[in-house]
């Protein structure tokens, strides 16, 4: 290995290429509306260390196994979010309701093909394999209970969910986005609040 001016400039050019590639990948990454969602559990190092892309599914609205409409349930019928997502008030996890909750209203025979799907899942004692929309990386903790109890509206993070036919992640859920709100409300900005 020899150090010379030449090799140094090669170094600079390569750095530039890396930076360009990084930018390119960032552009490619963000709005993926094809229904793909990034796996949260196991991030590769480049996912967050080099490029700081975040690992959230910003801008995604994947097709779900049942065309459940929040616009109808939360919007038109005005159901409280906590009616289905009851854990959000008592647990760090908001939780997806069990099939039983759906059956509380949808047990009667119906011609609606989507509701029939629920009934089939129920009959077969199978869970509904919902596609994850809002995903945080594994090293990030978010406590629903604390935010709900602090009076933060669900819409603050999840957007105008009561107008969505298909749920889309409208907030970036990236750290800067979190911190902006924490800053505005004088909430803790200690790293350990979310990262442990």
């Amino acid at each position: 290995m020899r150090f010379s001016l030449g090799s140094l400039s090669v170094f600079r050019i390569t750095l530039l290429i890396v930076a360009l590639l990084a930018g390119l990948s960032a552009v490619q990454y963000r709005p993926d509306v094809s229904g793909r969602v990034w796996q949260a559990g196991k991030a590769a190092w480049w996912d967050y260390k080099l490029l700081d892309l975040g690992l959230t599914g910003w801008g995604q609205a994947p097709k779900q196994p049942i065309a459940f409409s929040h616009a109808l349930h939360a919007g038109e019928y005005g159901l409280d979010c906590l009616y289905c997502h009851s854990a959000a008030r008592v647990s760090p996890a908001a939780h997806v309701p069990p099939v039983q909750t759906c059956m509380g209203c949808h047990a009667r025979p119906t011609p609606n093909p989507e509701i029939k799907k629920i009934q089939t899942y129920w009959k077969n004692r199978e869970p509904i394999p919902w596609i994850r929309v809002h995903a945080l990386p594994a090293f990030t903790r978010f406590n629903h209970k604390r935010h709900v109890r602090a009076g933060v509206a669900c819409q603050s993070c999840h957007g105008e969910i009561q107008r969505m036919q298909r749920v889309e992640q409208v907030s970036s859920l990236k750290m800067g986005w979190c911190v902006t709100c924490h800053d505005a409300h004088q909430a803790s900005k200690d790293c350990l609040v979310c990262h442990y």
Partner: protein, 978 residues
């Protein structure tokens, strides 16, 4: 070098690897959210549910509370309301989760086909196979010879199995435990006509004499005794503990005075003390005369010549035994179990009787479940019957004689003479491997059951989660098979399931208990609490005249030659009798005395080694009259010069990937000839010759040095000589800071560690592994110094004091000190480690780029770098704590003071609009500590326990002169020499 990666190529590669994710990203799989179909009432996703049950890792019967998340067990802790372990738990109990999730478990019924291979079978097929066999044996009129050999079973399972066999026409249910303590029961029968194990009230004693008894490790109920021991040793009680043994056990290392005795001569020591105490004893005059006659030959001089303990020491201890009362003598550890064990324990009983301890510190109660245990001699006669081909069917549960008995006992060979062997084991142990049919039982955490470890104490076991594999509870299998044998059998067992049977027997208990209210309330209360218990009155006992017939003699040894060394096989606090060896946490938990992991060794006194020309790490051949094994030499000064010692529990030829082929089994060297009076296993009965193989085999250990080398890490002070004012030595480094003083608001989390209370047992280390998803790295990595433990226990040998037999041992748990002025923080180039406003030294994994500068700059060696991908073979991964991130390669990690628990505590406090209360948040290490040596709390609250400890005159900080300002205060160990 031609292939050397030059700068240009390196940069090319760097470019390529940056491009790779762009391509790679598009093919990541979809993540689904799977909700419940019907959500169980007691489960809220994201919130833990707790179930109480009974630990089955040894027969002590400790109660546990199991933390489950979304239906899977993630952590076990001691049950705070239980009288035995009082909220604490040992390392083996902590590791019971790795039995539940063991990747080598037997996953469904198996049978041995004609080619001799084990093949899977469905449950109905397997049950039918056993039922058919039973029908055939009955038809042949051989039903009375059907034999059931088991380890200690849960109480109700034992009773059901007994009934089941009786209906079949057999009464051959034999319970065998390798650590069966036959001699203790026999000695109590001879002395007091009580063939039971008494309750030792250590907490009440002020002078405790141990005669080879490892009561802090494996003896009867180690966690219970550890709790009581810490009460006896507390500042207010300040009891003294003297241990007399041939090899310093962990228990001996915690003694104020350790006395080396010639192996197997404990009886004479006890008799010598009794002889001196008798004249002033308050025993009735007539008894005194007879005792005097019995003890007459045991003058201090004679005892000194037999035991090789000086007559002065014997006289002094006899004085202290009386003057420091109430006293208590304990006898009968596995390592001291010679062929004269019963007479040895009779001698200990006599000593306690003469000193007036019976009814004060030693109590007898009605018999408990351990009285069912058969002796080793009974097992030998079973082997004999098996060898004659008289057993048509052998059923095995919870027992592994193929491992725990010497090959020369003939058990393995005898199995081949049994036409059909059925095992109910969950694990592929050495005995189960030889079975014809395996009907795997649930592990204890998946089972219903109960235990009756002590008079008045009934523990209730409940399944904490649904079974991991296609296993079936032993009780259910027995009931189900019964219905298939014939109608009469079926009618005699009216219970549809074992659960029904258990409830039926608890209905009786409800009736007996006289508790008001209906059974359902009683049952629910028992489930919540982990059982029912009430205080029982001890039985009055009298000295039986049979004791005067006892003749005391020195134990016999099977000698390997003229100048052979006595071979001490001692029980391991990590593996018990070997059943813990398949749990990676226990394999990677450093042995308390040697700090070795994943292997076994032969302990030898340095002077003996020098005499024989043996260097440390030499691979030796150890030959006894019964066999030969190999092990590497480890120099150990806490050992008699005429003995060598080796831990029991390793050397498995099967038992899954973590146990197989590791270490050596000392049982191979032992005699099969049982103990004289009680028929127990003769653990101390052979002498061995050593020979060098010429090869070297160094142990993987975690200790850097056996000495403190003047660093003052584990400090001590003599009782009554505490400095009233703490003095900090700043002469080396004047306390000048580049950084401004940190101001803390509501909380500063801190800890105090009382070195006087710490036993060095390692329960905290295993609890930390369990709570914090710490990977097990294996022997090779530990040998390279790459173990991942966030908390370790340093063991230091001090120079022996004047006249002492062995070096003093000090233990110091070392974890992140959460320094107020942390050396690791300013060197991090990416701000991944920083000081949080509550005093925690935080490590943010996603910021960390792995420079390892922090570890380099840490004065306490508590930061760990992830060198590789952690491996949790399915289903071990189900144990991972969802509240703690699983770290990746290239990331630094360290103790967080269990920040997830702090967050949980603060969350709860916030719900109730109050600050966190003292004691509300307890890290996993402090929670499990049997002696409560660790105290955690808020240093900003002057009333908190940790604040008070931090101002204790015994308090000091490790490396205080470095001005790191740790949040951990150590309390000096207290020497009690008088």
């Amino acid at each position: 070098m031609a292939n050397e990666l030059d700068r240009r190529n390196f940069l090319k590669l760097l470019g390529a690897s940056a491009a790779a994710p762009v391509v790679g990203c598009a093919s990541k799989p979809v993540e689904t959210l799977i909700p419940y179909v019907v959500q169980p009432e007691e489960i809220t996703p994201g919130v833990a549910t707790y179930y109480a049950t009974v630990c089955q890792e040894c027969p002590a019967g400790c109660s546990m509370v199991v933390r489950t998340r979304e239906g899977r067990a993630v952590k076990v802790e001691g049950n705070p309301s239980h009288p035995i372990n009082q909220g604490t738990l040992c390392a083996r109990g902590q590791a019971s989760l790795q039995g539940l999730y063991n990747p080598d478990r037997i996953r469904q019924p198996l049978y041995r086909n004609e080619a001799g291979e084990l093949t899977p079978l469905s449950w109905p097929e397997a049950e039918a196979m056993l039922a058919e066999r039973l029908q055939k044996i009955r038809a042949e009129g051989q039903a009375d010879k059907i034999t059931f050999l088991a380890g200690q079973l849960p109480d109700s399972v034992y009773r059901l199995a007994t009934q089941w066999l009786e209906i079949l026409g057999s009464s051959r249910l034999m319970t065998y435990e390798p650590f069966g303590f036959e001699a203790l029961r026999q000695a109590n029968q001879v002395c007091f006509q009580q063939a039971s194990i008494p309750t030792h009230d250590l907490a009440k004693a002020r002078f405790l004499l141990g005669l080879g008894t490892d009561f802090l490790e494996t003896w009867h109920s180690p966690t219970r005794y550890a709790v009581a021991f810490s009460q006896m040793r507390s500042a207010t009680a300040s009891g003294k503990f003297v241990q007399v043994e041939s090899r310093m056990s962990l228990t001996g290392a915690n003694a104020d005075e350790w006395i080396a005795i010639k192996p197997g001569r404990e009886a004479f020591f006890a008799l010598g003390l009794a002889h001196l105490i008798l004249p002033n004893s308050t025993v009735p005059a007539e008894e005194k005369a007879r005792l005097s006659q019995l003890l007459q030959p045991y003058s201090p001089d004679r005892v000194a010549s037999v035991t090789e303990v000086s007559a002065e020491t014997i006289k002094r201890l006899a004085r202290e035994f009386v003057s420091h009362g109430p006293s208590l003598a304990l006898g009968g550890g596995i390592a001291a179990s010679s062929r004269q064990e019963t007479t040895s324990l009779i001698a200990v009983n006599l000593l306690n009787y003469i000193a007036g301890n019976i009814g004060k510190t030693l109590h007898f109660y009605e018999t408990q479940e351990r009285s069912q245990i058969s002796s080793y001699a009974a097992l030998l006669s079973l082997i004999d019957v098996m060898q004659r081909g008289e057993i048509p069917l052998l059923l095995l549960a919870n027992t592994n004689p193929a491992f725990s008995l010497p090959p020369s006992s003939g058990f393995t060979e005898a199995l081949t003479h049994v036409p059909f062997v059925v095992s109910f084991s969950s694990f592929p142990d050495e005995t189960t491997e030889r079975a014809d049919l395996i009907l795997p039982d649930h592990t204890p955490l998946e089972s219903w059951g109960d235990s009756h470890p002590e008079a008045g104490v009934y523990g209730l076991m409940q399944p904490v989660m649904s079974p991991v594999f296609e296993t079936q509870a032993l009780g259910d299998t027995l009931l189900s098979v019964a219905t298939q044998v014939d109608e009469a059998f079926s009618e005699s067992v009216p219970w549809k399931s074992f659960f029904e049977y258990l409830q039926a027997s608890w209905k009786e208990r409800h009736g007996e208990s006289g508790e008001p209210g209906d059974f359902d309330t009683f049952w629910r209360h028992a489930l919540q609490q982990g059982g029912v218990w009430q205080i029982k009155e001890p039985l009055p006992v009298q000295l039986s005249p049979a004791v005067f017939e006892t003749s005391f003699s020195e134990p016999t040894f099977d000698r390997a030659g003229e100048d052979a060394l006595t071979f001490i096989a001692y029980p391991s606090s990590r593996y018990y009798d070997g059943r813990g060896a398949n749990k990676p946490w226990l394999q990677e938990l450093p042995d308390p005395m040697t700090q070795a992991v994943w292997g076994s060794w032969l302990e030898i006194h340095p002077e003996t080694a020098e005499r024989l020309g043996i260097a440390e790490g030499d691979l030796l051949t150890i030959t006894s009259p019964h066999g030969t094994i190999e092990a590497s030499a480890y120099f150990y000064a806490g050992l008699r010069r005429d003995a060598v010692a080796m831990p029991i529990g390793l050397g498995h030829s099967g038992y899954g990937r973590y146990a197989q082929g590791r270490g050596f089994n000392p049982v191979h060297l032992l005699s099969t000839h049982p103990e004289t009076a009680a028929g127990g296993f003769p653990w101390l009965s052979t002498t061995v010759r050593l020979a060098r193989t010429g090869k070297r085999a160094l142990l993987a250990t975690t200790d850097g040095s056996r000495q403190q080398l003047g660093r003052g890490i584990a400090q001590a002070v003599t009782a009554g000589q505490h400095d009233e004012h703490r003095h900090v030595d700043h002469s080396e480094h004047p306390a000048r800071d580049m950084y401004p003083e940190v101001e803390y608001a509501e909380y500063r989390w801190g800890m105090s560690i009382d070195l006087s209370a710490c036993l060095g047992c390692g329960a905290c280390v295993t609890a930390c592994y369990a709570e914090n998803n710490i990977p097990v790295v294996g022997e090779d990595m530990v040998a390279q110094g790459r173990e991942m433990s966030w908390l370790r226990i340093e063991r230091y040998f001090e120079e022996p004091q004047e006249g002492a037999n062995a070096p003093e041992v000090r233990f110091a748990p070392i974890l992140c000190q959460h320094c107020g002025n942390a050396p690791c923080e300013p060197v991090c180039p990416v701000y991944a480690t920083y000081h949080n406003p509550e005093g925690l030294n935080a490590q943010i994994y996603n910021r960390c780029v792995g420079t390892r500068y922090c570890a380099n700059n840490c004065s306490y060696k508590v930061r760990r770098f992830n060198w590789g991908e952690a491996d949790w073979p399915t289903p071990l991964n189900l144990q991972l704590n969802p509240d703690v991130t699983v770290r990746e390669p290239g990331v630094m990690e360290k103790c967080t003071f269990c920040v997830q628990r702090i967050q949980e505590g603060k969350d709860r406090a916030k719900d109730e609009n109050r600050p966190v209360r003292d004691g509300e948040v307890t890290p996993a290490c402090a929670q499990t500590c049997p002696t409560q040596a660790l105290t955690f709390g808020n240093l900003q609250d002057p009333a908190s326990r940790v604040s008070r400890h931090s101002h204790d005159p015994r308090g000091y900080k490790v490396f205080e002169s470095l001005n790191t300002r740790p949040a951990i205060t150590y309390l000096k160990k207290v020497h009690r020499n008088t």
